[in-house]
């Protein structure tokens, strides 16, 4: 059923490419398998067409998506991002998440916040939160608690660290399970990272120098082969920088 997809796994695809689904005929009792289309694929009637250029990826049994390079973030429900509080207005904060529109963040959407007990959030603060509403027709809404009302690592953060932007592809490379990049970073020195899926990364280490090294490493890792990167990391570990 997914034959047209399976031929192209790992190959580059372009917007406009069309995959056809060979649906089993209604007389055939075999039940049609579900197809999960990830980012970069869209349904077009009975076909699936490509709407981003990149490499077609597959996760068994039936998930397909396009691995693409881009810098523009489009909010998606449930994704955890780093936002910058830009305005306070009444009972909501306006948060810049790098999307086309500012996201709103209710002051009640923090752990332990009540109407009487407001969270201490100032304009300019960094917040790590997830999207509750992310819809192309509506203003995105951010929350800093999970469904149980716990913070679980979300909320206001960022004293003494450094925030910078990388591409969305690098962020995903950092967060995939058993990430090589992350394993190499963990061998260097004590440090902390907050990685938002909107391409913002915040780093902090024991000294300003180390923080800067970390930031430069991550930014240069964007366009390096694995070998080059390993060389550079070894140099840093030896104390060359």
């Amino acid at each position: 059923m997914f034959a047209s997809f399976k031929d192209k796994i790992g190959e580059a695809v372009l917007p406009g490419d069309v995959f056809t689904l060979e649906l089993p005929s209604p007389e055939n009792k075999a039940k049609a398998e579900k197809l999960i289309c990830g980012p970069g694929l869209r349904r077009d009637g009975d076909n699936v067409s490509v709407c981003k250029c990149g490499v077609l990826r597959h996760k068994p049994p039936n998930v397909f998506w396009i691995d693409s390079q881009q810098k523009r973030y489009v909010p998606v429900k449930g994704e955890a991002v780093i936002g910058i509080v830009t305005a306070k207005s009444g009972d909501i904060f306006k948060v810049d998440v790098g999307g086309s529109e500012l996201a709103s963040l209710s002051y009640l959407a923090f752990e332990g916040a009540t109407k009487r007990n407001r969270p201490n959030v100032q304009v300019g603060d960094l917040v790590f939160g997830q999207f509750l509403i992310a819809n192309k027709d509506m203003e995105p809404e951010l929350v800093c608690i999970d469904s149980c009302g716990r913070a679980n690592g979300m909320g206001v953060f960022g004293e003494g660290g450094l925030l910078f932007r990388v591409s969305l592809g690098l962020v995903r490379r950092l967060l995939v399970p058993q990430s090589e990049l992350l394993a190499e970073l963990s061998a260097l020195f004590p440090c902390e990272l907050v990685v938002g899926l909107n391409g913002r990364v915040w780093v902090k280490a024991a000294s300003t120098q180390h923080t800067l090294i970390l930031a430069n490493l991550l930014q240069s890792a964007e366009n390096m082969t694995a070998k080059q990167r390993q060389q550079l990391f070894r140099k840093v570990a030896d104390g060359a920088l």
Partner: protein, 158 residues
């Protein structure tokens, strides 16, 4: 006053409950049809092509998180932020070591412990269900209690 104007009542007045009796069946039908029309016009519907046919076959997923199994974005190395490391350990454990936890749960109470516990339980449960007279036989097994327990009635002296 104009008599003709008075005879013609407005539709809204005719629809009221106390006016229903005086209406003739034809006018009643007319009113009901008008009402139906108004309701159906008020309802919105989308003029869409047949997208619903294969809705159950193709599922759209807009996030990379579920496709690539991305981790949560808070990371700390070498004990820089113990709180975050605890969080990382908790989220990673729940993801990849479900089997390990199951085996750990098994070893919590060993088979020997379980057997000992049940062996003791047999005696105490038996005692619980025994009748009063049978209790004595159980107490025989505890000789230290026996001597105290055997008391006879003592006649009071006058």
């Amino acid at each position: 006053m104009d008599l003709e104007g008075a005879a013609k009542l407005s539709k809204n007045v005719l629809r009221m409950k106390f006016m229903q009796r005086s209406l003739d069946p034809e006018a009643k039908k007319q009113l009901e049809e008008d009402e139906k029309k108004v309701i159906s016009e008020e309802h919105w519907f989308l003029d869409l092509p047949e997208l619903t046919a294969h809705e159950n076959v193709i599922v759209m997923e807009r996030s990379f998180v579920s496709c690539e199994d991305l981790m949560f974005g808070r990371i700390s190395f070498k004990g820089f932020n113990p709180e975050v490391e605890k969080l990382m350990a908790a989220t990673n454990k729940s993801e990849n070591t479900d089997d390990d936890e199951m085996s750990k749960m098994d070893t919590d109470i060993t088979d020997e412990d379980m057997a000992m516990r049940y062996a003791n339980l047999v005696g105490s449960i038996k005692k619980k269900f025994a009748k009063k007279r049978e209790h004595a036989s159980f107490e025989d097994e505890a000789p230290s209690l026996e001597k105290q327990a055997k008391r006879t009635f003592q006649k009071p002296s006058d």
